[in-house]
Amino acid sequence: MTLVLPDPETLCAELIRQLKPHVTADTALVGVHTGGVWLAERLHSALGIALPLGLLDISFYRDDFEKTGLHPQIKPTQIPFEVDGRHIVLVDDVLYTGRTVRGAMNELFDYGRPASISLAVLIDRGGRELPVAAQYVGAKLEIPPGHMLVLDRDDHGKLRLKFDA
């Protein structure tokens, strides 16, 4: 793949810039495993969010269970705050078909009724199959179908983007 990938550190800084004006003491951040959680951890500390970080594993809410079965590794879901009436910023690394976000929202609604959910993503690569949009986007990138873009983290916590085989 000859497409040049942007530096996620730069994109992360851009997201922080976009989010800052909208963060209040009551804002909740929820990262979607796995890439979304790494990103959310960065945003959480950089934005000084008061409420503890929420983590979401959507394995039980995926719509492709019939086809692919249960994921072998299920990470813990922790929502350490009241969801009722909360303004939540959902964080994920790559927005593509929109199905992950749909699952994440369904799961959040099983915890309560949020006042609003907005979405922050590092990369919006188009290719939507559901009417889902991100309010905060690091960068838009055209990637042909058949290529999986993932966020990776090295041992020092530095983020990088790559294509999964």
């Binding site: 039980f60 269970f65 079965g69 299920i74 813990p76 099983d110 915890y111």
Partner: protein
């Protein structure tokens, strides 16, 4: 011989017995169950995994407890649950086991949870059903109770972490116990070095050492320094055959009292598959005491069954 629990891809199609399953499979089930424990702690205890699926509880042997936990587990996965108490229906009219299964399959069942008095009945059903159907053994004769073995395993892992350093004692009517057999298989697969069965000679089956256990007929010797004590239920029928004289004598020599428990490690846990026979196999002081984790077993049981059902349904 091909393991009848696995499909052509080597994935778990049915859960009939723990025996012969790889360690990774057991670990996967336990890890998945951990996530479901989280779900059952929320207010909305449901996830949509099995929505649209029909789970039929085929109980040829009465058991409200086990059937209820399977029903709760299936409903928390958003499945439709149908309960069939065959003991009182067509079976008594002479319909064969496989005919009953065929009729139910025709009603678009996706999963059968089967309890039967005969060892091997779930195996027979699994051999017979169409390839998309899953069979979960909820207890067959003396042979196996794999979800119980798994929830026992989960409980031990929760409190004790490392199987490879444990000493586990299983006490009571091992001869008739599918719970004991499943737990023994589960512990040996997880690498438990010291597994003991304790009971009078009449209640210990032939050749049980070959399963990887040490036999004790003396409770005090058998309990010495163990980390986990699993008490088995003693059914009243045993007193009627020539196996045991009385519940009183059994309790005196094999019942778990605080004094006997003191011989185990100070932080030993006490487990029991339920329902308890207070004063027969276990003293109330122990059952209600700080070492007992019996109620935790029940909670974990639902999560483990949710894990088993969702893993099977996804394969």
């Amino acid at each position: 011989m091909r393991n009848p629990q696995l499909n052509d891809k080597g994935e778990l199609q049915h859960l009939l017995t723990i025996e012969g399953l790889p360690r990774e499979t057991l670990t996967h089930i336990l890890d998945t169950a951990t996530s479901f424990v989280g779900v059952t702690a929320r207010e909305v205890k449901k996830v949509p995994l099995l929505r649209g699926k029909s789970v039929f509880n085929l109980f040829f042997e009465n058991s409200t407890r086990t059937r209820t936990t399977f029903e709760i587990a299936a409903k928390r996965l958003s499945a439709d649950v149908i309960n069939l108490n065959i003991a009182v229906s067509s079976h008594t009219k002479g319909e064969t086991l496989l005919d009953t299964v065929d009729n139910l399959s025709a009603m678009h069942a996706d999963m059968f949870v089967v309890r039967h008095a005969q060892s091997g009945a779930p195996h027979l059903i699994a051999r017979h059903v169409a390839s998309h159907l899953h069979v979960v053994n909820a207890g067959d004769g003396r042979h196996a109770h794999p979800t119980q073995g798994l929830l026992d395993l989960y409980t031990i892992r929760h409190f004790k972490r490392d199987f490879t350093r444990l000493s586990v004692a299983i006490v009571g009517d091992v001869l008739h116990s599918r719970v004991a057999r499943s737990l023994i298989h589960a512990l040996t697969i997880m690498g438990t070095p010291d597994i003991r069965v304790i009971g009078p000679m009449t209640l210990i089956p032939s050749g049980v050492e070959k399963l990887g256990v040490t036999v004790f007929h003396d409770l005090e010797q058998g309990l010495r320094d163990v980390d986990v004590v699993v008490m088995l239920r003693l059914q009243s029928e045993r007193m009627r055959g020539a196996l045991l004289p009385s519940a009183q004598e059994f309790f005196k020599y094999y019942g778990l009292t605080p004094e006997k428990l003191a011989l185990a490690k100070p932080d030993a846990i006490v487990m029991h598959p339920g329902p308890l026979n207070r004063g027969v196999e276990i003293d109330s002081a122990v059952a209600d005491g700080s070492h007992a984790v019996i109620l935790s077993q029940v909670t974990f049981g639902i999560a483990v069954r949710m894990a088993v059902m969702s893993i099977l349904a996804g394969n």
